[in-house]
Symmetry: C2
Subunit: 356 residues, 2 copies
């Protein structure tokens, strides 16, 4: 029986993506070959890549002066590749620290230039997104993390800043419409809302290609990916195919506006129960609550282990919280159906009744 | 109908790998989750990773003082990561240039230290492996490419050299037993003999971890992968699973000694026909002929297009040669059954008869 998968990532993808991927492993599109054995220079893979990029452009309404790149290595690799490609040695990048991932991004950047953490919610265990901060107008860019998987905070507005903005959207990309023009770089590991692990999306304003002056390795140079349509070397063919299938699913269900409505409905349902049920309470402040990663704890710490045991017969998977937060984390990515949230809410209510 | 896939890579994998991968996309091992949605920290994936590394160690008889790493980015990424991790600025690496991939490796190395191409068969269109060369004893390492996909040359002996050896085995790893102790680093993109594209194997002598003194990015530092069992960040879960399935297949058929016998049988069959059939001739000199990539041309250039058309009814796929060599390239990787080679040989004989 299929589990209700609330795992934080790699995480649930649409059921049809699982089925179509499986079919392609046996035989891709009736060509007598598995997707796992086709050349990345074949007409079949070229079509997969082109359609994937076209759907990303369409769904996110990416302006024409941006390049869409597929890379390997996850967001962690981008923590390093972004300053390597963008920041010159004497320049400064600003960071808003909202999670350990922002911290990691800032640490890697020190290898290439200067950094300045202009706001942080670290002392409050990342329960909120800092809002009152002043951007250093001489800095080269401001780095943001739109959704914070561990702590369950997220921002939903694409604000304008006086300097270019770089945003890690690994865990909420494609969960809502985004004004791409407000960012110089958007990047995301695929393994939450886009596809299986092993592929990373970078959307970059063309004027920034080749910005940093240092001599660059070909595989670490965004320009090489842009010039070669992400085919300078062998890309992860299967992982990109799972992205295409997920993007098609997104388009067919109505695109990002519809996806956002579904995500709001799921989050509202679960947060309502967290706020109502005296046995639980949320981690993040209400105005910054993530729709993707819903973190909550047991009001009585003794209930934590009990509830994790209690949900097992409900076929609920992956709700144990990260060790630095404790409690529970219900990740409600795009592909998680509202029915799974309903089951979790019912389990919370049954748990309350069982304790009455 | 399943094609006879002679493609150069990504290339054929064992049929059971296609079938078991497909099953895992639907549900992995009866756990109610797809392989595409399980956490890289789950006990299921930990078992996949551990068994993969244990099988690599067993099949290649990797000595205990080596680390086995899984990385992303293919061999191209290693062209850069190797000097980044190993070569200090004032040091020199030696290269034997046997293919454009060796050239790429040498070019990337110039970013970090000095390079010296001590032997090359470039002027002869890479028809042979240079043998009479003198290693610079003060160099930090000698870089070799054991098999050359484009030109179809390969060496089979793991020679001792007066300096450490780094070897790109992307297209022949696991095709024969290897004396790992003769190398300080062996690296290979997976997509020929190990698994699907998107995962790269590095086997490195522990004393070389942290060798180069430059400050390093975490994602570009072998030490970080070694310390974290290749789990510092999210690895490509599915791609690693295809490696495990392929490694199990290799072990079940009898390991690398048996695999080598099968590869010799396939290569002998095809080279015999190339040498016998007056319509074809081989590209590489006989003593350096690759078992993995068998390159040959039409004696009469007009026959090239005719033969490519002629083989279509035989369900033969992927034998068009690389543009710099022309003619044909029949890649006979581990998973290609001898039956496919028999079909190609029959097509060559039928072609000869059709022209008589």
């Amino acid at each position: 029986m299929k589990k209700h998968n609330f795992g934080a990532g790699p995480s649930i993808l649409p059921q049809e993506v699982f089925e179509q991927s499986a079919q392609a492993c046996i035989e891709y599109d009736g060509i007598g070959l598995s997707i796992l054995e086709i050349s990345h220079r074949s007409k079949e893979f070229t079509a997969i890549l082109d359609e994937s990029m076209a759907l990303i452009k369409e769904l996110l309404q990416v302006p024409d002066d941006y390049s869409i790149l597929f890379l390997q290595g996850g967001a962690n690799m981008q923590f390093n590749m972004i300053p390597y490609n963008i920041l010159n040695e004497e320049e400064t990048a600003n960071f808003v620290e909202t999670d350990i991932w922002a911290t990691r991004a800032e640490e890697e950047t020190r290898l290439y230039g200067k950094t300045n953490i202009i706001a942080s919610s670290k002392v409050d265990n990342f329960t909120y997104i800092p809002k009152d901060f002043t951007v250093d107008k001489n800095a080269t860019y401001l780095h943001l993390t739109s959704n914070n998987t561990i702590y369950g905070t997220e921002f939903f507005d694409d604000k304008a800043y006086p300097i270019p903005v770089v945003c890690d959207m690994s865990s909420d990309i494609f969960s809502r419409p985004v004004d791409v023009s407000k960012y110089h770089i958007i990047y995301a590991g695929a393994q939450k809302n886009l596809g299986c692990s092993g592929i990373t999306l970078v959307i970059i304003k063309n004027e920034w290609l080749g910005r940093a002056k240092r001599p660059k390795s070909k595989m670490w140079d965004y320009s090489i990916y842009a010039k070669n349509n992400s085919l300078y070397n062998t890309p992860p063919v299967f992982a990109i195919y799972t992205c295409l299938l997920t993007l098609r699913w997104l388009k067919n269900l109505g695109g990002l506006a519809e996806m956002e409505q579904r995500n709001i409905a799921k989050a509202d349902l679960l947060y309502s129960e967290i706020d109502r049920n005296p046995l639980f309470k949320g981690h993040a402040v209400k105005e910054d609550r993530s729709r993707m990663n819903i973190n909550f704890i047991a009001t009585n710490p003794d209930d934590e282990a009990l509830f994790l045991e209690f949900v097992k017969p409900y076929n609920i998977h992956g709700i144990k919280g990260y060790r630095t937060v404790g409690g529970f984390r219900a990740s409600c990515y795009n592909a998680l159906p509202i029915e799974s949230v309903e089951v979790l809410v019912k389990a919370m209510q049954d748990f309350e009744r069982s304790k009455a």
